[in-house]
């Protein structure tokens, strides 16, 4: 490489400063959230930029006790069942759509993936009525079932293209050895598809952990609220006890941040495969 010119150095320096500034703009608010959660109300008002004098762990403990703990439990219940059902239902459908030969295959593919074109806002009013009719309004199921339904189109889309890329020789020899298609699916296709199952599970978990609108409309009982709704509730109850609210926010953000750091690769693969925002 030839030597850098002076203007090139300047350009690089400017770019680097710009990128670093942007990084600070992202990190600082998050850091402020975690640190302010340790402050006293007084400190939060007067010493904006300094570290907490004493780390007040009680704020975090209190946030957990007055609600976050309960909301975590609800969110975990809803998320676990949403993920399991979404994966199961989608994998079966994707298997049928990627392997079987039948006349209506393209029609079914369009019906399922076409669900992506309808946003949850459009169904909100009708679903509210429908869940009442089914008698599951204001239960965990009022969230789990709509969540699964709205995740199936995208998950089928992801899984189907993955299944299509798998070699079929193993499946065929298993069939020759006398396995039925269910066994082939369960013992061969699914184990070979672990990467896409992981990606689908992550994206679905992220969706149901963070979902707000359905949780706002389909759940009335305070004790059944998931984290996003619970936090809104806390804001109302805590009025100006902001350090505790900030501690609650920090606790709620933590699982997602940790998951993201651990599974960055799987997450990004899923997001770019679909190019769809949560």
């Amino acid at each position: 490489m030839n030597k850098m010119t002076f203007s090139e150095r300047i350009t690089r320096a400017i770019i680097f400063i710009w990128f670093s500034f942007y990084a600070v703009c992202i990190i600082y608010p998050l850091l402020w959230m975690f640190l302010s959660g340790f402050k006293t109300s007084r400190e939060l008002f007067i010493s904006t930029w300094s570290l907490p004098e004493q780390f007040k762990w009680q704020n975090y403990a209190m946030a957990w006790k007055i609600g976050v703990g309960k909301y975590f439990f609800n969110s975990i219940m809803v998320t676990v069942f949403t993920v399991l059902l979404t994966i199961l239902v989608s994998a079966f459908a994707a298997y049928a759509l990627s392997r079987f030969e039948f006349r209506l295959r393209e029609v079914f593919l369009m019906v399922i993936v076409g669900g992506l074109m309808l946003s949850p806002q459009v169904g909100l009013i009708s679903l509210y009525r429908l869940l009442h009719t089914f008698g599951i309004y204001n239960t965990y199921l009022a969230l789990i079932i709509p969540y699964v339904a709205y995740r199936v189109p995208f998950t089928v889309f992801l899984m189907r293209s993955y299944f299509l890329s798998l070699p079929r020789e193993v499946e065929e020899s298993a069939y020759i050895d006398g396995c039925g298609s269910f066994k082939v699916f369960w013992h061969i296709v699914l184990p070979m598809s672990k990467p896409i199952l992981a990606t689908s599970a992550l994206l679905t978990a992220m969706f149901s952990w963070n979902e707000f609108m359905f949780a706002l409309v389909f759940i009335e009982d305070k004790n059944l609220r998931t984290i996003p709704l619970g936090l809104m509730n806390m804001r109302g109850e805590l009025t100006t006890n902001w350090p505790v609210l900030l501690a609650g926010l920090a606790l709620s953000a933590l699982p997602m941040i940790i998951t993201f750091i651990l599974f960055q690769k799987q997450l990004i693969r899923g997001l770019t495969a679909g190019s769809l925002k949560g």
């Binding site: 459908a93 399922i112 079932i145 089928v156 065929e172």
Partner: protein, 304 residues
């Protein structure tokens, strides 16, 4: 080499139509009952006057649509959604692409993983947490936005960002840019990484500088991704609900109302379910057309 019997076995193995339908059944039922049926039902609901708490429905025909098109709040909401779309296009798609291109430059490669992770991280946090957090960050007493302005000598500009009808919607939109620019950037990063290096080499031999390479190689090569990102950003802008509801609930007054918050307010605050359904139908038309475009575009993108 192909196994001589392979084709035959494949035909037998996957020929059982009933089995295929059985595997498809749960997915199809869920999608039909909980996605398609509600969307169709919504049209029907928008033609009636009805309340969440009674079974009685009075047919009003196109009344709610006529009212909607004369309703000033509807136009405020529509304008705010459009603002959301335009600003998000500039920041998320525009800057997202530029940032991704720079991160792929040789001298930034070393730091790419760090910047990429940092910029993307807000996208994984829930909109509610981000919204509540920024509400405090904008707070005049404890927030860091005004404190920062005072710190750098721009204290005159310190104000109640979410509490003024002039700034509220912009303050909310800014938070979305903070949260999602990194997400769009990642999509571009992946697209840029797929560009064959020879194209850049050829441009270099032709004596192109960095800027020319960006416009003559990078941009045309990621054209499909630009289209996809443009449509998802616009769709997102017309579906926006969480961040507005959490930070301003459409206020002060109705100044930061968007279609989805207006839908919510009509249905669950004013108990005008029919009117809310009419608003939902407008959201349906806008997002459906855009999503249809996106799927078309993405398909051509995948084939290319």
């Amino acid at each position: 080499m192909r196994h001589p019997l392979q084709g035959e076995y494949r035909v037998k193995m996957y020929a059982d139509r009933r089995l295929a339908y059985t595997y498809l059944f749960p997915a199809v039922i869920l999608v039909l009952v909980f996605i398609y049926y509600p969307a169709v039902l919504n049209i029907f609901y928008s033609l009636y006057r009805w309340s969440a708490f009674s079974e009685k429905k009075i047919y009003v025909g196109m009344h709610y649509y006529n009212r909607l098109f004369k309703d000033p709040v509807f136009y405020v909401a529509l304008k705010n959604n459009a603002l959301y779309a335009v600003i998000s296009l500039v920041f998320q798609v525009g800057f997202g692409l530029i940032i991704a291109a720079i991160l792929e430059e040789k001298f930034m490669r070393k730091f790419q993983a760090f910047f990429r992770t940092v910029y993307f991280s807000p996208a994984v946090i829930s909109l509610t947490v981000v919204g509540l957090l920024w509400q405090l960050i904008y707070n005049s007493n404890i927030g860091i936005v005004n404190a920062f302005l005072k710190l750098i000598g721009l204290g005159n500009y310190a104000q109640d960002w979410l509490g003024s009808s002039k700034t509220a919607i912009f303050a909310v939109i800014a938070v979305s840019q903070w949260q999602y620019t990194g997400y769009i950037m990642i999509l571009f990063l992946v697209a840029i990484q797929k560009i064959p290096y020879e194209l850049y080499e050829a441009a270099m031999i032709d004596g192109a500088n960095r800027l020319q390479m960006f416009f003559n190689v990078t941009v045309p090569q990621v054209k499909e991704m630009i289209l996809v990102c443009t449509t998802i950003t616009i769709i997102g802008a017309f579906k926006v609900f969480d961040e507005v509801y959490v930070m301003t609930a459409g206020g002060p007054g109705r100044s930061s109302e968007v279609l989805a918050t207006y839908l919510y307010r009509s249905a669950f605050r004013n108990d005008e379910m029919g009117y809310a359904a009419a608003i939902a139908f407008v959201i349906f038309v806008i997002t459906f057309v855009l999503s249809f475009l996106q799927i078309k575009l993405f398909r051509t993108g995948a084939d290319a």
